[in-house]
Amino acid sequence: MIGTSILWVGWYGFNAGSAGAANGLAGNAFLTTTLAAAIGGFVWALLEFLTKKQPSVLGFCSGIVAGLVVITPAAGFVNANGAILCGIAAGSIPYFAVVWLKRKLRYDDALDTFGVHAVGGTVGTILTGLLAVESINGQAGGTALLMKQLASVGIVVVWSVVATTVLAYAIKATIGLRPAEDIERQGLDINEHGEEGYTA
């Protein structure tokens, strides 16, 4: 909860700062970031309420972060209405990735990095191609921009997966990636850092 709130606040520097100046574009990014984060958290929790009868704090946090992730590619290109749509998409599409896709594919992701960040980032990149408004930053949404956005998603996926796989397996073969099983069971704090956060 504290971490999520700090991320939200810091994200203003991330998105509005990326305008490179204190100008109208920065102001628009500030506005779209706020809208998408708030709506993302709300929609995620609403879906939890509708499907499980209980909106969780974790759900709000995940939805807020998803909203921030989705709006990041779009913040400098969409207007307020576009940001609302980004927020709704952020609260719903990564939600299904985390709840349904994760169970379906049975991948190991305790912190839902893939469901929130990879799925959310892809959704935001594609939505930028559809929802960009020319008066904001000289780019109009449409087929041409959408194609560029899809190409960029492809480049990012290929680069990330290839580079990471190569590096990770190189490290695995040399110094090893995972701690020994008993160390992992006992916890990394005491074994790798010689400290414990909670003793009681």
């Binding site: 490179g20 100046a21 305790a110 680069w159 997966v161 580079a163 110094i175």
Partner: protein
């Protein structure tokens, strides 16, 4: 007396009007509003990692691993900063190359401007000193690998993670030079506002590194 003042004022105004453009050609003026906002943003983005991301991930793991997540975020912040000073900034923003920079600005060479001036001005950010621009981008270089922690939390040796970040960030810096939005990287450029482009990378890397670390739970769609 009043008339004298007015005459003096108009004389100054005239002087300023003629001297202004000539001065502007020699030393570009700092835009204090833009610079102040970029320094604020730099602090905000660093705040996202320390302690934002550290607390966010730390709060999601079991109590026996909370400190390891904090140590991972702190370690990445230090390591990324060192690499950024040594060569990351140079490979990302120096030179004319489309995909990779050059070594012209290693160890922040040239950051303090050409001979005779105190400060260099980024050609990308008019009115903002290069020192601020370099620090703003550094905070992105920190949070990008720090995001990967989310996928390997509780599952990776500290030394292995640090080695991975050193090599991964090196590879990212040497292939991530922003270019004008007219060529192939245009797509990357449009993806995110300038500087935030590498945002989408860590999420997929996170997925792939988690799979490497965790062969028994590898997903069906990526059977490496």
């Amino acid at each position: 007396m009043k008339k004298n003042n007015l005459t003096m004022l108009s004389a100054f105004a005239l002087l300023a009007a003629t001297a202004g453009p000539a001065l502007a050609e020699e030393v570009p003026a700092i835009n204090s509003g833009d610079t102040a906002w970029m320094m604020t943003s730099t602090a905000l983005v660093l705040f996202m990692t320390l302690p934002g991301l550290a607390l966010f991930y730390g709060g999601l793991v079991r109590r026996k691993n909370v400190l390891s997540v904090l140590a991972q975020c702190l370690g990445i912040a230090g390591l990324a900063t060192l690499m950024w000073w040594a060569f990351g900034y140079s490979l990302s923003f120096s030179g004319e190359g489309k995909f990779i920079g050059d070594l012209g600005a290693v160890f922040f060479k040239g950051l303090y401007g050409p001979e005779g001036s105190d400060i260099a001005f980024s050609s990308k950010l008019a009115g903002v000193p290069d020192s601020v621009f370099a620090m703003f981008q550094l905070t992105f270089a920190i949070i990008t690998p720090a995001l990967i922690v989310g996928a390997i939390a509780e599952r990776m040796k500290y030394t292995a993670l640090m080695t991975f970040v050193a090599t991964w960030s090196g590879a990212a810096a040497s292939s991530a030079k922003p270019s004008a939005p007219s060529t192939l990287p245009a797509a990357w450029w449009y993806t995110c506002p300038p500087g935030t482009r590498p945002w989408c990378w860590p999420s997929f890397s996170a997925r792939a590194s988690a799979m490497a670390a965790n062969p028994c739970l590898r997903t069906a769609w990526c059977c490496v």
